[in-house]
């Protein structure tokens, strides 16, 4: 039994844990972002407990009531409790945001690593395609895809994921090219490892931190796109509450009942800002050279 067989897993985990902790401590604002985001996730998971009123129950006698003890954020045009609709709407935003970001992250990184690893024509072709996708107005692309496929949760996830693939491909490609020349890759080749094994087992772990940090920033973007699509009217079907949809409905009564749009607007802004703080701080920690780059 060699030394490396003695409990390598805990030490590796501890290493990752320490590195993560260090990353968070480099820029304290990432803690602020993380705490806010965790609170939002918590509110979404425990929505029925935090806001016991039914988000779908209409009460026409109580419509358009300003915030009060019973309805802490007031009621909408159908007399539904806005606070309940916010916490239940958070579920939609988070599910669509997370699913589309993970999808884009997996596909984008795979494409980027493939381009970087293969090089040559494959690389040029793939990256040119990515550049076009990147240059295309992502909201408009998303909008057309959802309009064509029909507004269901699955289709929205696909549409948002498609618009966020290129940035992940870019971020995965550059370090793959750099790492391809490194000695440990030569060593892997000498040992007869397959391309797949080298890329997945040895290059991926090295670029994973960057991809994950990008993920938190693109999660913010995905949530913003989802809200924008919902505001335009392309989201899961009413009466299911979505933040963008609530603003869309509230917009009709903006002259006399401003709280209808203020509550969901604040919710969207807080979540996106928290994720941006989180991602921005972590990126500083990972690559001080890129500090604050967009």
């Amino acid at each position: 039994m060699s030394m490396t067989d003695i409990a390598p897993a805990p030490s590796r985990l501890r290493y990752i844990w320490n590195a993560t902790l260090r990353a968070f401590n480099t820029n304290k604002t990432s803690w602020v972002g993380l705490v806010i985001f965790v609170i939002v996730v918590f509110l979404a998971i425990f929505a029925p407990i935090v806001t016991p009123l039914d988000p779908l129950e209409q009460n026409i006698l109580q419509k358009l009531k300003p915030p009060s003890a019973e309805y802490i954020m007031g009621t909408d045009g159908f007399g539904r409790d806005i606070a309940s609709r916010l916490t239940h709407g958070a579920r939609i935003s988070l599910i669509i945001g997370l699913a589309s970001t993970v999808l884009a992250m997996v596909i984008g990184s795979a494409i980027g690593m493939l381009a970087g690893w293969k090089g040559g024509r494959t690389d040029i072709l793939i990256m040119q395609a990515m550049d076009v996708l990147l240059a295309f107005p992502s909201l408009i692309l998303g909008l057309i895809i959802v309009a064509m496929l029909g507004p269901s949760m699955m289709n929205i996830i696909i549409a948002i994921a498609m618009t966020s693939i290129p940035p992940f491909a870019r971020i995965a490609r550059a370090p793959t090219i750099a790492m391809k020349e490194r000695e440990f890759v030569d060593a892997c080749r000498a040992l007869g490892f397959s391309d797949m094994r080298i890329v997945a087992g040895h290059i991926l772990p090295n670029i994973l931190p960057e991809i994950l940090v990008m993920g938190s920033l693109w999660l913010a973007n995905a949530i913003r796109t989802e809200a924008s699509l919902a505001f335009i009217g392309l989201s899961v079907k009413p009466p299911t509450p979505t933040w963008g949809g609530m603003i869309r409905e509230g917009f009709e009564n903006i002259l006399d009942s401003a709280w209808l749009v203020i509550a969901p607007s604040a919710a969207i802004l807080i979540v996106i800002f928290a994720l941006n703080l989180l991602g921005d701080g972590l990126r500083d920690a990972i690559d001080p050279k890129l500090k604050g780059e967009s």
């Binding site: 076009v132 408009i140 924008s228 335009i232 401003a258 604050g292």
Partner: protein
């Protein structure tokens, strides 16, 4: 140089075909029969058949594809199913509004963003830097329709300084009143973006040897920042602002909707609501052409300005 131009042009043609094919496929994966979707459930069988005939859906798929591609290339971008007018005409009707809004906000964004980005980079890790970074991060966090709504609430409803609906009559005051809030909305978001890009580009350039050399030989600090650092930092800034065009178009769509301003935003949402698929397809083709041409122009301009690019 010629080889570089030919290669770039070749890429542009390939991309154009790729994206046009994507548009073609996208429009044809509509679940169900497009004619049925357009006419609704109550439509008679004859009406559906007639529309299929009119849209060319009866013809084999490769014939449809050839018609679509050749049409797109010679400037036949389809006809709106709702108004019966050519898509290009509908687009050209509202394009001035969108271009006006986009250009003014781009100017606002540059005027605010570039100096702020320089200040943040020069005063790195000091109060100015933190303030600029938090402000720009906040600006980037605003979905454009949320900030537009808040501006509308604040400066058109609570303080009735501006009209709620940006209608435009001939007078200069009316024009100013209708453009101000939408332009501020888009301009501030653009400024947030440009601030960050300028800051990071400046940070990188300020570390270069030639900046230190310039300082060492006694060039005043402001001259170093403007003449040596900023000039070099602007190259990446311009590229990224070019890429930002896509985001700017998306943001302008949302801004136009909130302020009820005529423009591409209203056109595209109207087409969506009326299920005007030919209109959407035509707009996609036009967007694609614009994007490919702008990309090509940026690439060439970049290659002319920076000889190193051609070597790649």
């Amino acid at each position: 140089m010629t080889a570089f131009l030919i290669r770039r042009l070749g890429f542009a043609v390939v991309t154009l075909f790729a994206v046009l094919t994507l548009v073609f496929v996208l429009v044809r994966i509509v679940p169900g029969d497009p004619a049925q979707v357009i006419l609704g459930d109550q439509a008679s069988q004859e009406a559906i058949m007639a529309l299929r005939e009119k849209l060319g859906l009866n013809r084999p798929i490769h014939a449809q594809y050839l018609t679509f591609i050749s049409g797109a290339l010679v400037g036949d971008w389809g006809t709106s199913m709702v108004t019966g007018r050519p898509v290009i005409q509908e687009v050209l009707n509202v394009l001035p509004w969108t271009i006006e809004l986009t250009l003014i906000s781009l100017v606002i964004g540059i005027v605010i963003g570039v100096p702020l980005g320089i200040a943040a980079a020069v005063k790195r890790n000091r109060f100015t830097d933190y303030a600029a970074r938090i402000a720009s991060l906040l600006g980037l966090s605003f979905p454009p329709f949320v900030s537009a709504l808040l501006l509308l609430l604040g400066f058109a409803i609570l303080l009735p300084w501006f009209p709620v609906i940006s209608a435009r009559s001939g007078s200069a005051t009316a024009w100013f009143q209708s453009i101000t809030l939408p332009a501020i909305n888009l301009g501030l978001i653009t400024a947030a973006y440009i601030t960050r890009v300028t800051r990071s580009a400046m940070l990188e350039v300020l570390q270069e040897d030639y900046v230190r050399t310039a300082r060492a030989k006694g060039v005043p600090i402001n001259a170093v920042i403007i003449r040596h650092a900023l000039r070099n930092a602007l190259i990446p800034v311009i590229t990224i602002v070019g890429l930002y065009l896509g985001i700017l178009i998306g943001n302008s769509v949302l801004t136009e909707i909130v302020f009820s301003r005529p423009g591409l935003g209203k056109l595209i949402v109207g087409a969506l609501n009326q299920r005007d698929y030919t209109m959407l397809q035509g707009m996609m083709v036009i967007y694609t052409l614009v994007v490919v041409v702008v990309n090509l122009a940026t690439d060439i301009a970049y290659g002319v300005a920076d000889p190193r690019v051609k070597l790649k």
